[in-house]
Symmetry: C2
Subunit: 277 residues, 2 copies
């Protein structure tokens, strides 16, 4: 939410950078990113914004979620010809299917970039290990694991994965891209309904990293692998050992940014360096 | 769940009384109770049980939920010709749509009746008052209120409704039926997502009582009525003042029963009184 942040338009060629906070049920979408002929969150949202603003809109996103992955705290930015009207949220939500909601819109602080300004991302993963599966009211955002899982084994297996590590064993490889990340948190609880909930936070996650981590941890949690095994996979650094857990258990919960004041400082520092170069 | 209860079959003409714990997403159903030509939870569940058991099954329910109302802790009983096979839950769930799950099955303790043995029912009501409505991942079990609501006003207005009261003002009238109930709990919180969650517990609720209470409280909560108003409605005893809140926010969470030992004692006492009459 950016409502209380100072309205300092980032003007570049007369454009105003706007931050949008967005939530979606990923079930009916082929992920965030536009793909020809497929329903995507980006396409639906850009289309609704373009209709209200009567101009084409291109969105930059903090976390490109895969097919079937949900968000309660996705963040995007767009450069608009003018500051958005106060009625934008209501009008865009009026056009969108209820599976996507714009939670808030505001002029972004100076230097803000939804993807590159982010300090961290938080995800939650929900998985039911009961014999009956997931409760019907939560079946859309809860994966089902076909075997009973020990919470203690999950916790023990998760601990050594936290920290600055090379997560190559849990990343879909992209040429030239690093797989080193700082995993700040990886904790598990059982909620009141008995569902296992993982909470993960990192500076950034590489592609399918959360689902690969959860997939490996569930194998350790249900006893088919030892609790040392996920850490051994990490140390080995070779992908393919960890199964990828289902998409429907995963939700992008929050993207963290510096305070607006520090974002502006950082932006000025970046600009100065560029001027001196 | 009745798995750990002693297996004391209630035999009556060779029948075994079985307790089933059930959850459902009420969205696609015209409520619990069978209605010709409409999809109902009772019809779907009786059909799946009959297929597995190769015999017709009639279910008695603890809480007859209305169209669109959900359950995470519904309880039903059935009298079967024999104790159910261990594979019943897995096989019935295999036939059912994921919008209905059987959580557990067991032979009921002596004297058990899903409806008449119940000591209390617990409901939860979820309502979002954010400008954007409900989070997409929870839109199926969260109602939307179009105005901001004060949690303190909700709490203040709820307090005087708790206790042994005549809830005629909040009950759909049935000829000859009492509207006196003991409301043991009516509390409100905001959850981590900002959703207002009411928790209600009573010995029993009359028809549409929870949704009428919530409808009146939301009017007091958003300032269109005073916080004294719901209690004044209660004192007036005339139905029609309170709007009925939407069904999709309501979930039957739990049905409470006496301990198995006390249920048997109570059943014996009831039978003795009947014998002496």
């Amino acid at each position: 939410m950016t409502r209380n942040e100072p309205a300092l338009p980032t003007r570049d060629g007369g454009l105003v950078r706007v931050r949008l906070d967005v939530a979606y049920d990923g079930t009916p979408y082929a992920g965030w990113a536009r793909q020809p002929g497929l329903p995507t969150v980006q396409a639906a949202l850009e289309e609704a914004l373009a209709t209200v603003l009567r101009a084409p809109v291109t969105l930059a996103v903090a976390g490109r979620t895969d097919t079937g992955v949900h968000a309660t705290g996705q963040v995007v930015h767009a450069d608009l010809p003018a500051a958005p009207p106060e009625t934008l949220v209501r009008r865009v939500n009026g056009l969108l299917d209820p599976s996507i909601r714009v939670l808030g819109v505001g002029v972004a602080p100076e230097g803000f970039d939804a993807r590159f300004s982010a300090l961290g991302r938080r995800y939650a993963y929900r998985v039911a290990d009961a014999a009956y599966g997931a409760l019907p009211t939560r079946r859309h955002d809860t994966a089902v694991h076909p075997r009973p899982v020990s919470l203690r084994r999950l916790q023990a297996a998760s601990k050594p994965l936290v920290g600055l590590r090379d997560f190559a064993a849990f990343c879909r490889k992209r040429e030239g891209a690093t797989t080193v990340r700082t995993l700040r948190r990886l904790t598990w609880v059982r909620d009141v309904d008995g569902v296992l909930v993982a909470r993960l936070e990192a500076d950034a996650f590489c592609h399918q990293m959360v689902r690969s981590l959860v997939g490996a941890l569930l194998l350790a949690g249900d006893g088919r692998k030892t609790t040392d095994w996920p850490a051994a996979l990490l140390a080995g650094g070779i992908r393919g050992g960890a199964p990828v857990a289902p998409a429907n258990g995963l939700t992008l919960v929050e993207v963290r940014y510096p305070a607006a004041s520090r974002m502006a400082l950082r932006a000025r520092a970046t600009r100065r360096r560029r001027d001196e170069a």
